[in-house]
Symmetry: C2
Subunit: 165 residues, 2 copies
Amino acid sequence: MSSSSPVILGIDPGTAITGWGVVTESQGTLQTLGFGVIRTPSTEPLPARLVTIYDELTALLQHHQPDAVAVEELFFSKNARTALSVGHARGVVLLTVAQRQAPLFHYKPSQVKQAVTGYGAAGKRQIQEMVRLLLNLEALPQPDDAADALAVAICHLHSTSHLSV
Amino acid sequence: MSSSSPVILGIDPGTAITGWGVVTESQGTLQTLGFGVIRTPSTEPLPARLVTIYDELTALLQHHQPDAVAVEELFFSKNARTALSVGHARGVVLLTVAQRQAPLFHYKPSQVKQAVTGYGAAGKRQIQEMVRLLLNLEALPQPDDAADALAVAICHLHSTSHLSV
């Protein structure tokens, strides 16, 4: 896709659910080319779940050939176990994108909220509603993880300063 | 290698340094087939460092063709940032091993200490000294991360109950 209509893949990493959303912008209008989630069953061993994330994300990168990938920076939870679990999935996501040499950018949660709603402390529902309006969708993008992924992709398109990971 | 002389790869994952050690047992005698560390420079972006871990670990798996891979379970640090960082590397390690379908086992730090020194609360230096003795090495295995990886491989060989990850 030409640089005038960049295709951005947003990702919200998690071991159980990794949200993804593809957004493009043409003549000032945003449009999604698809969104969804990669789910891995908690009954499977962790290594098998990470292979699923790797394989499905690889397929998404091949299918959409994004010009850039945007990932939300992690909120540093006080819970080390949660941070470790998200770290497993995020490590695999960063590896998969880097292996395909897609330019990778990251944004703080406050940057995503600011870029999507104009308000750095917006709530989850406000973000979903703004993502729906900006992408001209009939219904709220579901589940939350897909909406979050669309939001970070929109954030990348709206940001003037792109910080690489 | 035949099942009478199983080859075990032990791994101590970390973003900056991932220790590895290969141990085999023949007629009751332990022997190392190699040990070392995968280092990634802190000046590189995280995704590139994860690619280095993936590539070097893939090469180790291809070269040594281990019958099993043993990884130390994480100590849940109170520091969420540390847990996240180790999680990135550990996620990539588990993925890489699972993609090659090598059987994967994990052990608690106390199990490793117990298996190597007979004492669940042994110190780092005691573990290194016991690893040196058990493997009949002239010097202490260095760096610490390689010694830890050798210890978890020995733990797997000495364990009767193998818990998969």
